[in-house]
């Protein structure tokens, strides 16, 4: 078997990374506990927001790994581990859903028995929207995703010690099997945890809307870590502008994809003008929410679009770093817009509780990355495609 010409030497992450992650994690945990003691309802919404963000990020990172196997992509082999390091979020994110499960009444209107009894629509929906089935779906999604996470990532890891092509072959099959399960799972997460916040409302494009945003954030996180690791000289030198150009281009593509989906949803609902659909958007134009809603177009579409549209900007490290941070927060903005309009209908509310949970999320991702990084190789040294990745040019 041909040996890879790349000789991997493990470099430690800068110590400030771990310290900062730990600090953010601790601040976040303290803030979250304090928030649950003081304002349980508001904290539940924030916790839900964090769960939905991290779950989407974890699942879409797994999707990216599977996509690379499935499409036989070459350029991304050296980046794949960064996505793989994000996939444990599939197991970590549900922790933030647990407080919500104990606080269902504050968050989900459909859990109120008396409201359902006096409401014809909710009665019709109750075979789906009831707590038991909700919990079953939640556990099923986590179970299936965790299974694929375990199998795909384990095979990828085993290949480092034993560079055998059979692991790649098995993972390609697993990736193909994953795809339909992934599509259904991410749709269920979006319907259960985001759409059912307004149980009367429905939108058939909503699953894809959440998927588009989550995949965008997965790309942004991947790009941010890649650029930072490149800055710290941890990523090997062969990863040059041509490799990073693909990250930038895909990020740009998914900015457009998100905008396309978001606009399709708006256009159809606006054009059909059916009251049971439009009220969701009308609620999002209440009070100061209207500026927030219009800002969403600017934040998640126009600014990243303009910043990434030209060819050189897609491989400019500084631009990529700024825009990946921007997009990570733009997706947060998007989810905040989806979740918080249910909590406060009158206008935007943003305070230490929300910031605390965001800090907690960043801390979790950083500490998780540090932990997984210490256990595993950053470059899949046994991957048969690595040589072609090293030689990759546009």
């Amino acid at each position: 078997m041909e040996q890879n010409k790349f000789n991997y030497v493990k470099v430690e992450l800068p110590s400030k990374f771990g310290k900062m992650g730990l600090a953010l994690l601790l601040i976040g945990v303290v803030a979250a506990i304090l928030a649950f003691v003081l304002e349980p309802a508001r904290a539940s919404f924030s916790s839900l927001l964090l769960f939905v963000y991290l779950m989407g990020l974890g699942m879409c990172s797994l999707f990216l790994v599977a996509l690379e196997y499935l499409t036989d992509a070459v350029w991304s082999v050296a980046f794949r581990r960064i996505s793989e390091f994000m996939t444990p979020l599939i197991l970590i994110a549900p922790i933030f859903a647990i407080p919500v499960l104990f606080n269902m009444h504050d968050v989900f209107h459909w859990t109120h028995e008396e409201a359902v009894q006096s409401d014809k629509i909710l009665q019709w929906k109750s075979p789906y929207l009831n707590f038991t089935f909700f919990l079953i779906r939640f556990l099923a999604v986590i179970g299936i995703m965790a299974l694929f996470f375990y199998l795909i990532i384990r095979h990828s890891g085993k290949q480092d010690a034993n560079p055998d092509q059979k692991y790649t072959r098995v993972n390609i099959k697993l990736a193909a099997i994953l795809m339909p399960f992934f599509g259904i799972s991410i749709t269920l997460i979006s319907i259960d945890w985001l759409m059912s916040l307004e149980p009367h409302w429905f939108s058939t494009i909503f699953g894809i809307y959440y998927f588009a945003g989550s995949l965008l954030s997965a790309f942004a996180v991947l790009t941010l870590f890649s650029v930072k690791l490149k800055e710290w000289k941890i990523l090997p030198d062969f990863l040059g502008r041509d490799h990073f150009y693909n990250l930038g281009a895909l990020m740009f593509a998914f900015v457009n994809f998100w905008a396309y989906i978001a606009f399709s949803q708006l256009l159809l609902i606006w054009y059909a003008n059916v009251p049971e659909e439009t009220y969701w958007f009308i609620a999002k134009f209440n009070g100061s929410w209207q500026y927030f809603s219009i800002g969403l177009i600017l934040v998640q579409f126009i600014i990243p679009y303009a910043a990434l549209v030209s060819q050189p900007s897609k491989s400019d490290f500084k631009r990529l770093k700024i825009m990946s941070v921007w997009i990570i927060f733009a997706h947060l903005y998007d989810l905040y817009w989806l979740v918080m309009t249910t909590f406060v209908t009158s206008g935007v509310v943003f305070g230490w509780i929300e910031i605390g949970f965001i800090v907690l999320g960043i801390g979790v991702v950083m500490m998780m990355f540090k932990f997984v990084y210490s256990k595993r190789n950053l470059i899949p040294v046994g991957d048969p495609k690595l040589n072609r990745c090293i030689d990759f040019h546009i």
Binding site: L267, Q311, H393
Partner: protein, 379 residues
């Protein structure tokens, strides 16, 4: 020929590595206007040549934004200012509805504009020849070798220097390319212009012929021109030249048998008999016609309670004692000649249908005011 202008000095190399090395040297030496020709794409050549990013993006941007502006302004002018239309209660400037079209026009103009810019700005249409065409150098470059072309337009260019420079790089073959002659673009040549004029005359002439002449030619006219007199045309047969004739006195055209008893409804009631047999088929026909022509005023059950009530002289019920005692012929007279406000229905309802309607009216009357004997056998 002393006046031959130099286009460039070219050198050929054997391998891709050599050409990358050569292009690095060319850049180092300070040449700005030069080109590399290879038989297949060579990775890393862009970097070695220090090529700037292609300016095509700016053409795409400008044309795309032009498309955006054209689409939005056109739609806004038409839908908002020139002919404002309220469509489904949407605002007069419905931006979300415009976005799709704007996007399409943007993409269309950007792509068309990019192709046109490519052709006219970079490929210098309508010029279609190049000094390198048909040269030995280009033949080699498209098959087996890698070439460097140092163009004479460059400030640093000097034929002797360029040749010695390429020799130092160990180029296999070195050649000087001359500009043969000032090219006259093919579209300005006389045959092409003649061809254009010919095409213009032919196409417009053919269009005129087809739309104005051919369309009105009759391939055959056996059905158009027949041996009969057309309505309102002059007759050459009759002395008074009228093609429309009056009836011959004392005759009746087929299907136009005049109605009797026009002025005497009582005689009609006395002498006219219902010619139709009372059966389900006739009653069903009567029902259909009654619901079409009678029910709008008399009501579905002939009670005089139609939806026209209070908006129209009150139509009478057909269940009154008078009506029930009227003979079929008397009712027939009313339908045929009208009564009071009710106009004649002779035009809309045929004789047979009129009798059928009367059968249906009788059925309704029996249903609402049954006589004792109607219950016979139903006890």
């Amino acid at each position: 020929m002393e006046s031959k202008k130099i286009y460039s000095v070219v050198g050929l190399f054997d391998t891709a590595d050599e050409i990358i090395h050569a292009s690095e040297k060319v850049v180092e030496h300070g040449y700005k206007k030069f080109d590399i020709h290879t038989p297949f794409p060579v990775h890393g050549l862009n970097q070695a040549m220090k090529l700037k990013p292609s300016p095509m993006g700016y053409f795409a941007l400008v044309f795309g934004l032009t498309g955006t502006a054209i689409a939005l302004l056109t739609m806004a002018f038409m839908m908002t200012f020139d002919y404002p239309l309220n469509i489904g209660g949407k605002p007069l400037f419905p931006l979300p509805a415009f976005i799709s079209v704007t996007f399409e026009v943007t993409v269309l103009l950007a792509s068309i504009g990019t192709v046109l810019a490519l052709l006219f700005v970079f490929f210098k249409m309508p010029h279609n020849s190049h000094p390198l065409h048909d040269s030995n150098y280009m033949k080699k470059c498209t098959t087996e070798m890698f070439g460097v072309c140092l163009e004479a337009e460059d400030e640093k260019f000097n034929e002797a220097d360029a040749r010695s420079f390429l020799e130092n790089l160990a180029a296999k073959e070195i050649e000087t390319i001359y500009i043969e002659k000032e090219e006259v673009p093919a579209i300005f040549s006389k045959p092409f212009i003649g061809f254009l004029v010919f095409t213009i005359v032919l196409v417009s002439g053919a269009t005129y012929f087809v739309t104005n002449k051919l369309m009105f030619m009759q391939p055959f006219n056996w059905m158009m021109d027949q041996h009969r007199v057309d309505v309102q045309s002059i007759s050459t047969f009759f002395p008074d030249s009228f093609s429309m004739r009056e009836k011959v006195e004392g005759t009746v055209p087929r299907g136009f048998m005049p109605e009797d008893y026009k002025e005497s409804p009582d005689s009609a009631g006395m002498y006219l008999q219902n010619p139709l047999e009372y059966n389900e088929k006739n009653i069903a026909l009567g029902k259909r016609k009654f619901l079409t022509y009678c029910s709008p005023c008399h009501g579905n059950l002939a009670k005089g309670d139609s939806r026209l009530l209070d908006n129209f002289p009150k139509p009478p019920t057909l269940h009154s004692k008078k009506l029930r005692e009227w003979s079929d012929g008397r009712i027939y007279h009313v339908i045929t000649f009208g009564q009071g406000v009710m106009p004649t229905y002779a035009k809309q309802v045929t004789r047979e249908e009129r009798w059928a309607i009367i059968q249906y009216i009788r059925t309704l009357q029996k249903a609402l005011n049954p006589a004792e004997e109607d219950f016979n056998g139903a006890k």
